[in-house]
């Protein structure tokens, strides 16, 4: 295993690290995409550990920062975020095609990284597989908008009010500052959706997109943790019956109970790595069970 720091993308320079396997294989390259605002190493260094586990299986990978994130330059042309991150995935694929001769790719991402992964799968035929972990559509609000009258949504909303606001008040008393802009913003979204039925990405639209990608025989892995708002997004994608995972062997859905949105626990990270390594084994010569075990051993 060898790693190299790279800069690519021309005017908007993107910074990343390529992890090379000991022996080059003709496997698709894996792209590890930013999880929310965290830089390329991922939550708990997950992307670094995953890149090295994948190299052990023979996969080349690139973990890099989207424009304006981590060490990459900001894009100053006014491109909306949702579009910018998909553009960055394409730029990364172009870079690896030019420098490494790879023409098949598997983008993987958590949260907004999942959205970029999905966007790339929709728009670029070089994507042969995509991993969407706790994908929430294009913004938090859209995830919260789904199924606003479900029991789960109401329970989560009530829990949020019961915990977030007391914390804000305590903070005010201790520090003299409210400092809870995100709490207020989330409260606004939740209230709006609770009473008005939401306004975000249309579930039908998202579902159609997923079906289109699945019909192109792109291998899809959708990972969700049980209590996350992203589960509403999943319900929107598969709930209307248009995607029946059992009828589509190229779509796999994995719900990991006990995990949190960004996989903040060591144990859950190890389980996730096992799931991912087992899933990518379809492209390599290592048996799936062995691939999963190797991921935990690193």
């Amino acid at each position: 295993m060898r790693e190299e720091a790279v800069v690519f993308g021309g005017k908007t320079a993107l910074v990343g690290v390529i992890t090379y396997p000991a022996q080059a294989q003709n496997y698709p390259a894996v792209l590890l995409l930013n999880a929310g605002g965290l830089h390329r190493v991922g939550p708990g260094r997950l992307h670094v550990n995953l890149a090295r586990a994948l190299a052990g299986l023979g996969f080349l990978s690139l973990r890099f920062d989207f424009a304006g994130f981590g060490d990459s330059d900001a894009r100053n042309d006014g491109t909306p975020f949702a579009q910018s991150i998909v553009t960055d995935v394409r730029i990364a694929m172009d870079f690896l095609t030019t420098t490494q001769g790879v023409d098949r790719f598997i983008p993987m991402g958590i949260c907004s990284g999942a959205d970029a992964s999905f966007g790339a799968a929709r728009s670029d035929s070089r994507v042969v597989g995509a991993v969407l972990i706790n994908g929430t559509g294009y913004d938090v609000a859209s995830a919260l908008n789904f199924d606003p009258r479900s029991v789960g949504f109401v329970v989560r909303t009530l829990k949020f009010f019961a915990t977030a606001w007391p914390r804000m008040v305590v903070r005010k008393l201790n520090r003299g500052a409210w400092g809870g802009a995100d709490t207020i913003q989330l409260t606004r979204y939740l209230l709006r959706n609770l009473f008005s039925g939401g306004r975000g990405t249309s579930p039908a639209q998202a579902s159609t997109s997923l079906r289109e990608v699945a019909e192109r025989a792109v291998e899809l892995l959708l990972v969700y943790e049980g209590c996350d708002p992203a589960v509403d997004y999943l319900r929107a994608l598969v709930g209307d019956g248009s995607i029946d995972a059992s009828c589509r062997p190229n779509v796999m859905i994995k719900v990991m109970k006990g995990a949190d949105h960004a996989f903040n626990s060591v144990k859950q990270q190890e389980l996730l790595m096992g799931v991912l390594c087992k899933w990518v084994a379809r492209w390599c010569d290592v048996p799936a069970s062995e691939a999963a075990c190797n991921s935990v051993a690193i």
């Binding site: 790693e3 190299e4 720091a5 790279v6 800069v7 320079a13 910074v15 690290v17 929310g36 605002g37 965290l38 830089h39 390329r40 190493v41 939550p43 708990g44 260094r45 997950l46 670094v48 550990n49 981590g70 060490d71 330059d73 829990k159 915990t163 520090r175 400092g179 995100d182 943790e225 209590c227 006990g258 995990a259 949190d260 949105h261 960004a262 996989f263 903040n264 626990s265 060591v266 144990k267 859950q268 990270q269 690193i298």
Partner: protein, 266 residues
């Protein structure tokens, strides 16, 4: 590459490859002082990354070349998360200082550290004789308190997430996605910066953005070693423990650090 503000690279020995980012000094062809930034650890490292990038950019604009780097077994550097230890990280600072001298041919070195990075910067300066100045940003003064704080933060976050703590009951403690091995915990718990009785560097800045009294007390202690110690209190929320969906940059703290380094190198 030369036109870029940042140059990423791997450096160090074949067994200890460290990810570094070099920020050349802007408009200063003969800089006297190079600045080496020392990140905090674990979850604090992730949350402080953006602030460190901006601090490096500000220092570069002020005419100082900067190297920031990931410690062994941290970030993009080589090694698994279980392999890191304090002695190795002190060695990493020496490797980074050598890299700075190689790249910018500077005479003086300033170390800037946050939290455990500040503690390591201080200990590195004590072990060496060529560190001219150090900036200690909310240093970890007591290792025991630090371990307790990390555990407490971990529990608070999981309570907030309402998913239970999957790492509870594990042999080695998990702290928000990072494994805290028994040996690391033992190492950390031995940290007591009040035991220092030797001058670490000629000039020291202790900067605190919370717990003003704590910072002033420690600055007073360091003054007793014969160093010129400045103490600054710049109120700002601790970016290294902010919630999981935040990435604040403490601009007033960064401005104070750049201002102090410029002043002592004028």
């Amino acid at each position: 590459m030369q036109d870029r503000d940042i140059e990423p690279f791997y450096f160090g020995t074949p067994e200890r490859r460290l990810l570094g980012l070099y920020h050349p000094a802007k408009g200063n062809h003969y800089p006297k002082c190079g600045v080496v930034l020392c990140y905090p650890m674990a979850r604090e490292y992730l949350l402080a990354h953006r602030s460190f990038r901006q601090l490096a950019g500000r220092l570069s604009q002020a005419g100082f070349p900067v190297v920031r780097f990931d410690f062994s077994a941290c970030g993009d550097s080589y090694g698994t998360s279980e392999e890191g230890n304090l002695q190795q990280w002190l060695g990493d600072i020496s490797i980074a200082v050598a890299e700075m001298r190689k790249r910018a041919a500077v005479r003086k070195i300033c170390l800037v550290g946050l939290r455990l990075g500040a503690t390591l910067a201080l200990r590195s300066a004590l072990e060496r004789s060529d560190i001219d100045s150090i900036v200690l940003w909310n240093p970890v003064v007591s290792g025991k308190s630090f371990v307790q704080e990390m555990r407490s933060f971990h529990r608070t976050i999981f309570k907030h997430l309402q998913v239970g703590d999957p790492d509870a009951g594990e042999e080695e403690i998990g702290v928000l996605g990072f494994r805290l091995t028994d040996s690391m915990r033992t190492d950390l718990e031995m940290i007591d910066l009040y035991a220092i009785d030797k001058r670490p560097a000629a000039k020291v800045l202790v900067i605190h953005s919370e717990k003003q009294q704590e910072g002033e007390n420690f600055a007073r202690h360091l003054t007793g070693t014969g160093a010129r110690v400045d103490s600054k209190f710049v109120p700002f929320a601790p970016v290294w423990t902010e919630g999981i969906f935040r990435s604040h940059v403490p601009a007033p703290v960064l401005a104070s650090i750049v201002s102090w380094i410029s002043e002592v190198n004028a």
